[in-house]
């Protein structure tokens, strides 16, 4: 615990007190013994989603539940505010919150507790606040529901609350909708609405997920402040850095069970359960650079090393040190070069807004260029220009030294296969009617399918051949033929992203653009996919343009890094150099936030 708070940056205005007020509290605010939750579906089938969970939370203490999706952590949290949902069955030996037995509370009782004694914070205020109403109305509603009837008084309290959570110009913000506010401001507003009546317990379910790293730090600060003021916090998260920053005690959940628990320091620094260890290992960062994140990745690399000499296609790569051959990369010619890219859009107010300004970079063969930036920094627009989807207003993109962005649509089409892309959400990038195999054969087909007039035999032969190649590709990304036969909807998130990568590799591209390709994945799955990417680069010499908001991922993956802010490349250089000696003050601030968050687990 102490190690965590010690790493606090200047951004942290008020570090959490040592050990919190936990020890002082005589009776826990929340006491749950052997909580079990089932859901039944429309056909009466029951599924047991929470198994014998026990948790105690004292005033001024933050207890975190950490786990991946489907671990039952959110269900546990919601049960504590009586919102487990319809068709749920809850049973526990003891379940009290604020001294009341939550198993016997009726909805009317709950209503007087929720929002008053227990506050609830969800992730991303863009969807967790009613998007049609002003944040003032939302915060005011919390007050109205708990007795503040007078309109004027409410308005005053709303402004006061907004000021409390650090919102500048609260009277203006109160009149704006979530979509009109920046991510940080609206998340603050969400928190304001949850703590409006100064509840003694706040349940925060992924309160910082989907926020930019600087904003994350600010939000966690805010929660730490509440904690310091004596509020108990139940924090639900998948993110170790977040948990490490705030929690006094940590529960690790997997598949509905608590697999490990203890103080934050114990669990994060000295994990006992293999699952916890696996999770911690999977977090990418500068420290993991050039290493595999998963057991499996390491094993595969080792296996490969023994047969390295026999491989025809792989680039000569050191097993535990894949980055080694890249050192002389500056001599390697640039596959994709951007020069002075500029793009602006006409805003709804009729004014042009420049989203990318004068961005230049080179992506070298067999290497990875990482573009990092917060939302709105123009990194995705830059990716789109690199892909040739949108034409730059100024500047040019060269592919293999030849004009690319200046080509005609048809001209570019014939070379599209040389630059492929992997998206953040693979599912939406698959035609919903197609199986995995169809998706891959279609990608293999790009530009090479026999014409309409080809004989049916020729086409059959072609199809046969493509089918085999699809299977090969699938093996390459760790998918089986069974996976290929399935509809992507029935694949797991990691499998989908593997399929997406296979598709990107199918036309044997010169560059693969990865646009937030692992951002939506659970940490262990993310680790697998990152390992796959590393392995592919190692074996096939693939070139990546890697775009992400996640500094850890970027550092882990990239050889070179481009830092973008407000459409401008503020810093550009070798990855380690940028991370270790940031030149631009924005990069410094960014890394500062990261350090505030990142654990020193290793």
């Amino acid at each position: 615990m102490t190690t965590l708070t010690d790493t606090a940056t200047p951004l942290l205005t008020d570090p959490a007190p040592e050990g919190g007020a936990a020890g002082a509290a005589s009776r826990p605010l929340v006491e749950v013994e052997n909580l079990n939750v089932w859901f039944s579906d429309a056909h009466g089938r029951r599924s047991h989603v929470v198994h014998d969970v026990s948790v105690q939370i004292h005033a001024g203490e933050c207890v975190a539940i950490i786990g991946e999706s489907g671990s039952g952590k959110s269900v546990t949290a919601r049960t504590l505010i009586g919102l487990t949902g319809p068709n749920s069955h809850v049973r526990a030996d003891t379940a009290t919150a604020l001294g009341r037995d939550i198993q016997t509370l009726r909805d009317t009782d709950w209503r007087s507790i929720r929002g008053k004694d227990i506050g609830f914070i969800l992730q991303d205020a863009l969807v967790s606040l009613d998007p049609l109403r002003t944040v003032g109305a939302e915060i005011g509603e919390s007050l109205r529901l708990h007795g503040v009837r007078d309109r004027a008084e409410r308005a005053a309290r709303v402004e006061q609350l907004l000021a409390e959570v650090g919102v500048p110009e609260p009277h203006l913000v109160a009149g704006q909708r979530p979509d009109q506010l920046s991510g940080g401001l609206r998340q603050r507003a969400l928190i304001a609405s949850a703590i409006a009546n100064h509840p003694s317990l706040v349940v925060a379910d992924e309160p910082t997920t989907a926020l930019d790293v600087t904003v994350q730090a600010q939000v966690l600060d805010l929660l730490a402040q509440r904690k310091a003021d004596g509020t108990a916090i139940l924090l639900i998260s998948h993110d170790f850095s977040v948990v490490g920053r705030l929690a006094d005690r940590v529960l690790v959940m997997q598949g509905g069970w608590i697999v490990e628990s203890g103080t934050a320091a114990e669990v994060l620094e000295n994990p006992q359960h293999p699952y916890t260890r696996q999770l911690l290992d999977a977090v990418p960062s500068g420290h993991t650079k050039g290493e595999y994140l998963t057991e499996e990745g390491r094993a595969r690399a080792a296996a490969r090393a023994t047969t390295a000499g026999t491989s025809q296609r792989t680039a000569p790569a050191g097993v535990g040190n894949p980055a080694e051959p890249k050192d002389e990369a500056s001599q390697v010619p640039a596959v994709l070069s951007a020069r002075g890219l500029t793009k602006s859009y006409r805003g709804p107010d009729g004014r042009d807004r420049t989203v990318v300004r004068d961005v230049s970079f080179d992506v070298h063969a067999g290497r990875t260029l990482g573009i990092v930036g917060e939302s709105g920094s123009g990194k995705s627009t830059t990716a789109s220009m690199a892909l040739g989807f949108i034409a730059p207003d100024a500047g040019t993109v060269l592919l293999d030294g030849a004009p690319w962005s200046e080509l005609s649509l048809a001209g570019r089409r014939s070379r599209r296969r040389e630059v492929t892309v992997v998206y953040q959400d693979p599912l939406s990038s698959f035609d919903p009617r197609w199986s995995g195999e169809r998706i891959l054969t279609d990608a293999l087909d790009a530009g090479t399918a026999p014409g309409v007039f080809a004989s049916s035999r020729a086409r059959r032969a072609h199809r046969q051949e493509q089918s085999e190649r699809a299977a090969q590709l699938a093996r390459l990304v760790g998918l089986t033929p069974e996976h290929l036969a399935k509809h992507p909807l029935r694949l797991s998130g990691g499998q989908r992203q593997r399929l997406s990568i296979a598709r990107a590799l199918a036309p044997e591209p010169k560059v693969v653009v990865l646009d937030e390709a692992v951002s939506a994945l659970d940490v262990s799955v993310q680790a697998q996919v990152l390992d796959l990417l590393t392995e592919l680069q190692e074996t096939l010499g693939t070139t990546y343009l890697f775009i992400s908001h996640d500094l850890g991922v970027i550092h882990h993956m990239s050889d070179e890094i481009l830092v973008m802010k407000d459409g401008v490349a503020v810093e550009h250089g070798d990855a380690d150099r940028v991370f270790e000696q940031p030149e631009h003050h924005y990069t410094q601030a960014l890394l500062g936030s990261l350090q505030a968050l990142s654990t020193t687990v290793r």
């Binding site: 749920s88 069970w257 628990s261 492929t420 892309v421």
Partner: protein, 303 residues
Amino acid sequence: MTAQPQSQPRIPADAGTTGGVPAAPHPAGPVQSATWRRVPVTVWIAGVFAGLLLLAAFAPGVLATHDPRAITLGSPLAAPSWEHWFGTDQSGRDLYSRIVHGTTQSLLIGLGSAAVGVGLAVVFGSWAALGGRWADAVIGRAIEVLFAFPILLLAMVFIAVYGPSVQTLILAVGLGIAPGYARMVRAQVMSVRRSGYVQAAQALGHHPGRVLAQHILPNALRPLLAVLTLGIGQSIVWASGLAFLGFGVAPPSPEWGALLEAGRPYIIEAWWLEIIPGLAVLATALTATVLGKFVESTLEGER
């Protein structure tokens, strides 16, 4: 706290994602994929009724008990009985047999109008969505005008030119329902065009024609299959409304709209002449709706 090494991925389809909306507190995910296989009773009933309708449409003789045209001057307006299940009409014709024989035309009108309407909608809706700013503007305006235009007038024009026939009604009703569907198609095509998989296909360098044929049209039009079935019911209702205003099929056709119009004066004394054909229209429209919704949800479930 006991550590339980047992790990069961609860939601295979969703496992591995944390972004976006947090997992719903109730497990809608795992069941949904299997739900569509379990067909609700209402769909069964609708299916059986649809089967009867098709039988009546293609082989009315199998279901009918009487010649639908045979008049019995002695017994007009006879109440439903064992001999005449739905009673007889003002000419002593067997109403049940007339409804059975009217199925062909009524279904034809329903299917035909829906096909014409949706067909026009597909052509013009896609054109508006894909044809650029001008096409969109022109077609958009045309749709507006059609919306603002009473269908009654259109029907009258067609009837004046081609006479009151099934084809005329199909054209008139089809044109009447087309603008609504055209807007849907346009929106649908636009959303598919912006979808990730279309961009993905473009990124692979596929020819625009191929992208259109392989991705945009199939995916944009698939939901329309359900809409088409819904349109069938609407068209029958519309067509019978036109019959009510005197723009129906020529007698002695037992088309349902014509039956309704003919039965109206007898609503008090011979309620069956009005109520039963109305129920037939309602049941058919409802059947189409139920089946359409089922198809829609099945398709969605597959996604």
